[in-house]
């Protein structure tokens, strides 16, 4: 799986999910159609998005996606066209939500983030765990080996469904 496209640089730390999508837009029952609300809680967010209308890759700073568990944040990013988010660190729940929605979350060192924030585009090989900034030499990164399969191989729910017989057997054994 290759993700290739232009980068939107969001040069700010601690972007919480209220800023990614405010609660007033959490009134639906499906995962779709939320891209129009992306970053409407971020001062100048919509203006920033308009500077790179076709961006596929978001580069930002530490602790991205902190706060509320709302998966709407990941859905809004995906619906807007983002396929990967690159940051020095992610908040736990957002990190899991990203994997569960095939929004590849890539952790890079602070040093490499500085380069990525200045780059115009990137090409990401999810399977090989490498990325290239502006056509440069490939840099390696690490994905969670299990959750990577959720991105590449049919999703989290199918994986869990396959485990149900094991879980039922464990539950019976552990209650005895």
């Amino acid at each position: 799986m290759i993700i290739s496209g232009s980068i939107l640089a969001l040069d700010r730390a601690n972007i919480d999910t209220d800023q990614i999508i405010p609660a007033r837009y959490l009134t639906g029952i499906t995962k779709s159609g939320l891209g129009q609300y992306l970053f409407t809680g971020l001062p100048d967010g919509p203006g920033l998005l308009a500077t790179k209308p076709g961006a596929r890759i978001l580069v930002t700073r530490e602790n991205f996606g902190c706060g509320s568990s709302r998966e709407h944040a990941a859905w809004a990013l995906v619906d807007h066209g983002f396929q990967a988010v690159i940051a020095p660190s992610f908040a736990r729940i957002f990190h899991e939500n990203a994997y569960n929605n095939a929004l590849t979350p890539i952790v890079l060192s602070d040093e490499l983030i500085e380069l990525a924030l200045r780059a115009k585009s990137a090409t990401i090989d999810v399977e090989q765990e490498t990325l290239s900034l502006d056509g440069g030499a490939p840099l390696s990164f690490s994905l969670d080996p299990l959750r990577k399969q959720f991105i590449l191989g049919g999703g989290f729910m199918r994986y869990l469904a396959s485990k149900i017989p094991t879980i039922r057997a464990w539950e019976i054994a552990s209650s005895q």
Binding site: P22, I29, E71, N100, D144, L146
Partner: protein
Amino acid sequence: MGKSLFEKVWDRHIVEQLPGDNALVFIDRVVAHEITTPQGALEIEHDFGDALYDPQRIVAINDHVSPAKDADTAIQAQVLRVWAKRHGIRLYDIGDNGICHVVVPERGYVEPGMTLCCGDSHTCTLGAFGAFALGIGSSAQGGAMLASCLVLSRPKVMRVHVTGKLGNGATAKDLALTVIASIGFKGGTGYVLEYTGSAISALSMEERMTLCNMAIESGATTGIIAPDETTVAYLRGREQQPSGAEFDARAEAWLALRADEDATYDTSVAINGSAIRPVVSWGTNPGESAPITGTIPSDADPTSLTYMGLEAGQALRSIAVDQAFIGSCTNARLSDLRAAAEVFRGRKVAIPTIVTPGSQAVRRAAEREGLHDVFQDAGALWTHSSCGPCLGMSMGVIAPGTRCVSSSNRNFPGRMGADGRVHLASPAIVAASAILGRLGSPDELEPLPLAQSRGIAA
């Protein structure tokens, strides 16, 4: 090598170790509310034959906007209703509901040693009972409803040891904010916070819930506190708990659940509880707070200050506020309302003030004590239970540029309304600020005539 409390609960729920640092963790109870449940429920209906692993492990609550404020939120509530009925899931709905993190414990759905999850970050509240309780996304919640398991990487454990005893007007909220300021707004990321020490043991269950509620605000997976007699006393007689010998047997098992004497932790922090003073947040994350009698630190983040319209060095008590809110899963239980009423009694608010109980059961209990009269006599609005303006969804959303002092949990930009500003504090500080029209504490208020302070009509 001894185990922490968290490790004991975790180890008992591991179905299978998975690649990487992951494990398949069995979930005893799933809490489902109307904002984040429909998406996973619809996916299970569409792709997995509508088969839930065990509907009896799920409890559903319409809580965020209840009653609905518009057609969209009405649909969310209706989807939860229809789905719960179809699967025989117990639903708490209009008239009998409240914020899920308040309703779940007051009905006795949480027990020491359990694992619980909900598509809501403040599920960590339930760690107060010695349970492993965590917030997750809608997909993970769907997975937990489909297979009663989560895929989790094992968190590390941070011991937060609080010695001494809270005093000098400091509450569990002040402790929670002090812990976050101490370890940092993201300092808990990757950890479970295991709270220990004399100041923790002395807390009531409601205070423990306030403390654990804000574990997520340091980035932590959750918080956890060892069960003790306080825990047992709280759970005895609750709706979902058995009575008599059956309850006693459970209680015995709960009391045996604790960290080993020689437990090791990945990291530890020590806090002197006796030194904690009432605090208020000045910035745009819950780690940015300072004692109410103090000033905004000289090294405060300029971005936060610009958003908040404040300056470094400014006295917190000089900051005028436009609205006050007492409510949310952090501070809207009966003891919180009593603390606020103590301050409001015989006085008048200077700014629009909203008091929203954490559940309808809390509302009724407060009214039996006459607290609703105290709030309304003071000029505050007394509402039904809801998440309300805490997350800027309904019943008191604030206007751009205005400032709200709030007993809730998040002061993020826009949290309570687009471009609005939030100061987090305890219910007593919020009540005092509502009367003063600026940030302030109860000790600044004019003393009342003796008759009034005793609640006797003049």
